[in-house]
């Protein structure tokens, strides 16, 4: 059952979504006009904090609906312009927290109007993307977020080559996504016996997801972005995982089995998870390590999303949040270290412990939180995804275990190489700033609190997982329901998308426009 917006909970959520998107948008506008002056960080942090609070309001509002999804917007038939369920009710605050942490920890020299403007506009676009399930909106917002990332990377000294690589992959991804979605709308498989164009559209969307998520063999932009782009840009572009969200909205969701596209995607994602973790083991610089680790963990999410069991999906959602927060933490600590001491190599022991002992402690804690330290959310996430995968397919479970083990070894190798070894100093030279300490402690606290008391989060995500997996495919039309006269006779292999695109013929023309 879908809760309409006329209810108090619905209104609450609608206002929440509006504020979540509008606050960073307005602040980005002010930053672009140069009206923030010296209070640029304060403006950006305030706007993102407002968005974060509003996203929490959305989560509370969704709880008030007893777990039913809330939707709004029939501009394009039944495509939901605003759609809130258990998944994005949890993910919106997550996106807000990541953005807020990045702005708080960003070194002073990174806080300049153009960067802040792009960061805020990117945050607004990401919030908007995570609040919608409409295919056309998803396509447009994909393009906006990718463009902002490309621009930020390109203007960074030494970032042109990474921007070029990113642009090549993202253009391909956008083209596949746009064409695939259009083909699906133009030729919904349920209206013709062959549905060849629709099926091809589904495959194109799957390829787009692979490109945007950095799945083997389309993964090379991922470590390159971390190496060439500012840390804020790399984290903001990858940690929310817009491609995973798109996959959930467009490809996952099936009453009669798993979409073939997603099953194939999952196999590539499993290879990526193991390959990324293995690459992380031999990286020669810290940023390369973070890129490879992020690639592996993000692929684990996609691998879990293909599951037939709620447990697997739930595990994927938990990995999404736990690895996202942990890698954000590692990235922020790295950024803080780099701002004090320049680029960090992993070829030899760097001996930075006594130089920055607090950062060493935070790096270790985030590293442990990324690899499944008991008491952190990643321990729960690993448990769920490993159990779910092994229940579902033995090889998948074993590959997930292999990826987890390799990520653990790579993370400890990285920590020992950065902080271990002979040191040139015998007392702390680079302390940690209060805003850095507060932000990192908050991230760690979230990971530990959710790890020790995961019940509420797991329950919320379970509802989302069950809804995504078990919502019945569109039913054959009732005689008295003319707009649904073209409902499918046989389920299409991507019924999640089918549900979203189950629109009257007259509306399809608008969609295509």
């Amino acid at each position: 059952m879908i809760t309409p917006l006329m209810t108090p909970a619905g209104n609450w959520i609608l206002y929440g979504v509006a504020v979540t998107v509008a606050a960073p948008l307005a602040a980005g506008g002010l930053a672009a006009l140069g009206m923030a002056g010296r209070s640029l960080r304060m403006l950006a942090v305030a706007a993102t904090a407002v968005s974060f609070v509003a996203s929490l309001m959305i989560a509370v509002g969704w709880q008030m609906t007893n777990g039913d999804p809330v939707s709004f917007g029939s501009v394009l038939g039944e495509g939901r312009l605003i759609f809130i369920d258990g998944l994005n009710a949890v993910l919106l605050p997550y996106v807000g927290l990541v953005a807020l942490a990045i702005l708080l920890v960003a070194p002073r020299r990174s806080i300049e109007p153009a960067m802040v403007k792009r960061m805020l506009l990117g945050t607004a676009a990401t919030f908007a993307l995570f609040a919608t399930s409409h295919p056309l909106a998803l396509v447009v917002l994909w393009a906006v977020t990718a463009q902002l990332t490309w621009r930020s990377t390109r203007v960074t000294p030494g970032g042109r080559s990474a921007a070029r690589v990113f642009a090549i992959y993202m253009w391909l991804a956008f083209a596949c996504m746009a064409v695939g979605t259009a083909m699906l709308v133009a030729d919904p498989p349920w209206e013709r016996s062959s549905g060849l164009m629709g099926t091809s559209g589904g495959w194109l969307v799957a390829v787009a997801v692979m490109l945007r998520k950095g799945i083997v063999p389309f993964h090379s932009w991922y470590p390159a972005l971390f190496s060439g782009a500012p840390m804020a840009t790399a984290l903001a572009a990858t940690m929310p995982q817009v491609a995973s969200y798109t996959a959930v909205r467009l490809l996952v969701g099936h009453a009669d089995g798993v979409a073939t596209e997603l099953e194939v995607l999952a196999q590539f994602a499993l290879i990526t998870a193991v390959y990324g973790a293995a690459l992380a083991l031999v990286q020669r610089d810290l940023r390369g390590f973070i890129g490879a680790l992020a690639m592996s963990q993000s692929a684990l999410v996609l691998a879990g999303l293909s599951g037939r069991l709620p447990m697997e999906l739930n595990g994927a959602f938990c990995v999404w949040i736990s690895s996202g927060l942990a890698i954000t933490g590692i990235g922020l600590v790295t950024w803080a270290l780099e701002s004090r001491a320049g680029d960090i190599s992993l070829e030899t022991l760097q001996g930075r412990f006594w130089d920055a002992p607090a950062l060493a402690a935070f790096f270790l804690l985030f590293g442990m939180a990324a690899i499944g330290l008991p008491g952190t959310l990643s321990f729960v996430a690993d448990d769920l995804i490993v159990s779910g995968s092994l229940d579902d397919q033995l090889h998948a479970g074993l590959m997930v275990i292999a990826a987890t083990v390799l990520c653990g070894i790579a993370t400890m190798r990285c920590w020992f190489h950065v902080f271990g070894g002979p040191s040139a100093v015998d007392s702390p030279k680079h302390g940690i700033l209060p805003r850095e300490r507060l932000t990192l402690i908050t991230l760690i606290a979230v990971l530990f609190v959710l790890g020790i008391w995961p019940g509420p989060l797991v329950r919320a995500l379970e509802k989302a997982a069950e809804r995504v997996l078990f919502t019945p495919a569109p039913q054959p039309p009732a005689a008295a329901d003319p707009p649904r006269a073209a409902a499918p006779a046989a389920p299409y292999s991507s019924p999640g998308l089918l549900r979203l695109l189950n629109v009257p013929s007259a509306t399809k023309g608008i969609l295509l426009c």
Partner: protein, 447 residues
């Protein structure tokens, strides 16, 4: 208050005490305000003492009712569909004496370390890791489900690796820590997979659904196939922490850590963690002759290897490390033979003796001079008679083999690690070349 409530309370105290200590000293350190040395040592000591005393009280109560086991259901951690992770603890004839022993030993080592590490940079870090180890140990020992056991097991591994690398400015210490962690992590595959197999077989990770908790008279409640698979996976998991061939190379290097942690980890508790897990799951092993045979085989091989290699070591800590390895191997053989109480007694006896030896090792020369003075001459070790009866050429050959640590590390390095690292290096180089080509820059341009 019934005896059930009382035991539940005491079991919770055994777990909560070191955890509370960890939070009490860890949080101020994270906030940039670490406690002083005296406060740190006292707080950690109080935590271990509380664990020990509540263990003794529980032991007395359990003894009064003929060691009838008591399961304490703390909470359901999380549940999704049929998958349920419960926090169940068990108080029985195995767990309660063991927790008394481990908490007591940690308490003593804490007192020793407070003096030994006085004014050492990283003093607070050592005690945070010691508290994490104590909490993990108690969690593992009291676990009545494989999920909880794995949580404790992971805490042991992480604290162990970090303590080996405690003197992080020493290159060898860092390398040794990384080696130990890698070994642990590879062997964790066993326990992780075993956990999933158990969940799949009985719907939860609870031991009472797997084999009951009436130690040492547990009854296997799953099929022989499941029991064999789980047992083999657990045997694999224990090979790392117990330093069995071919995973033994990390143990002599682990002595790079501070002496108190070496004593408690590699002389006493961590090295026997695997044996404890196997003893806990003895009912499964009973149904798995293949797993028991592999234990006997690996244990015997490692005992011979460690005994020979230990004889040619030139530093005391390495000698003690190989002696620990020998005894741990023999304990695994005893478990493989189906014995239950003897391995437990062996574990406790060996742990106490070896930790004392390691703690005394910095004063070994002094001890030796005292002994020589008391005896009126040098106490010679001499060759043990089976070796001295061998032909001289055999002795020389054996000496060379022992000096090269049985070629074990060379074989692992050349046949397994080397090829994998070379392959990964090539993959990374190919990635870099592809990116360079794609970005249209020459190889020298990249940042």
């Amino acid at each position: 208050m019934s005896s059930h409530d009382l035991i539940s309370l005491l079991v919770i105290a055994q777990l909560a005490a070191p955890l509370a200590t960890l939070a009490t000293i860890g949080l101020p350190a994270l906030a940039g305000r670490p406690l002083g040395e005296t406060a740190t040592t006292r707080l950690v000591g109080i935590g271990f003492a509380a664990g020990f005393l509540s263990g003794v009280a529980a032991l007395v109560i359990l003894g009064g009712r003929s060691f009838r086991p008591e399961i304490v259901h703390l909470a359901t951690w999380f549940a999704v569909g049929h998958h349920e992770a419960t926090i169940n603890l068990v108080a029985d004839a195995l767990s309660v004496p063991y927790v008394c022993f481990s908490s007591g030993l940690c308490w003593l080592v804490n007192a020793f370390a407070g003096k030994y590490l006085h004014r050492e940079p990283g003093f607070t870090r050592f005690f945070i890791l010691l508290a994490l180890f104590g909490a993990g140990m108690n969690l593992m020992v009291l676990a009545d489900s494989i999920d909880v056991l794995f949580a404790g097991w992971e805490c042991l591994g992480i604290s162990s690796a970090l303590l080996i690398g405690f003197f992080h400015e020493r290159t060898n210490a860092v390398k040794a820590a990384l080696r130990a962690f890698t070994t642990y992590r590879i062997c964790d595959v066993g326990i992780l997979t075993a956990s999933v197999v158990v969940h799949r077989a009985v719907g939860s990770g609870d031991f009472d659904r797997l084999f009951g908790v009436d130690w040492p008279n547990g009854t296997c409640l799953v099929s022989a196939t499941t029991a064999t698979v789980v047992s083999l996976l657990l045997v694999f998991a224990t090979l790392g922490k117990t330093a069995q061939v071919p995973f033994s190379g990390w143990l002599p290097r682990a002595m790079e850590g501070p002496t108190p942690s070496s004593a408690i980890f590699y002389g006493a508790l961590s090295i026997h963690a695997g044996a404890y897990v196997l003893l806990r799951c003895e009912a499964l092993l009973e149904q798995a002759p293949l797993a028991r045979a592999s234990l006997i085989l690996i244990g015997t091989g490692t005992a011979i290897h460690a005994s020979l290699v230990g004889r040619v070591q030139t530093d005391l800590k390495s000698v003690l490390a190989y002696a620990s390895m020998t005894q741990a191997s023999l304990i695994l053989v005893e478990i493989g033979l189906g014995w239950r109480v003897i391995p437990l007694v062996h574990v406790i006896g060996h742990a106490i003796l070896r930790s004392l030896q390691i703690l005394r090792s910095p004063s070994a020369l002094h001890d030796r001079y005292e002994l020589a003075a008391a005896l009126g001459g040098h106490p010679g070790s001499g060759n043990s008679w089976p070796l001295s009866m061998m032909p001289k050429t055999w002795q020389d050959h054996l000496y060379r083999v022992a000096l090269d640590r049985g070629y074990e590390e060379m074989a692992v390095s050349r046949l397994v690690v080397g090829p994998i690292v070379r392959l990964l290096d090539r993959a990374a180089a190919a990635e870099k070349a592809w990116i360079t080509w794609l970005s249209g820059e020459s190889a020298g341009d990249r940042r």
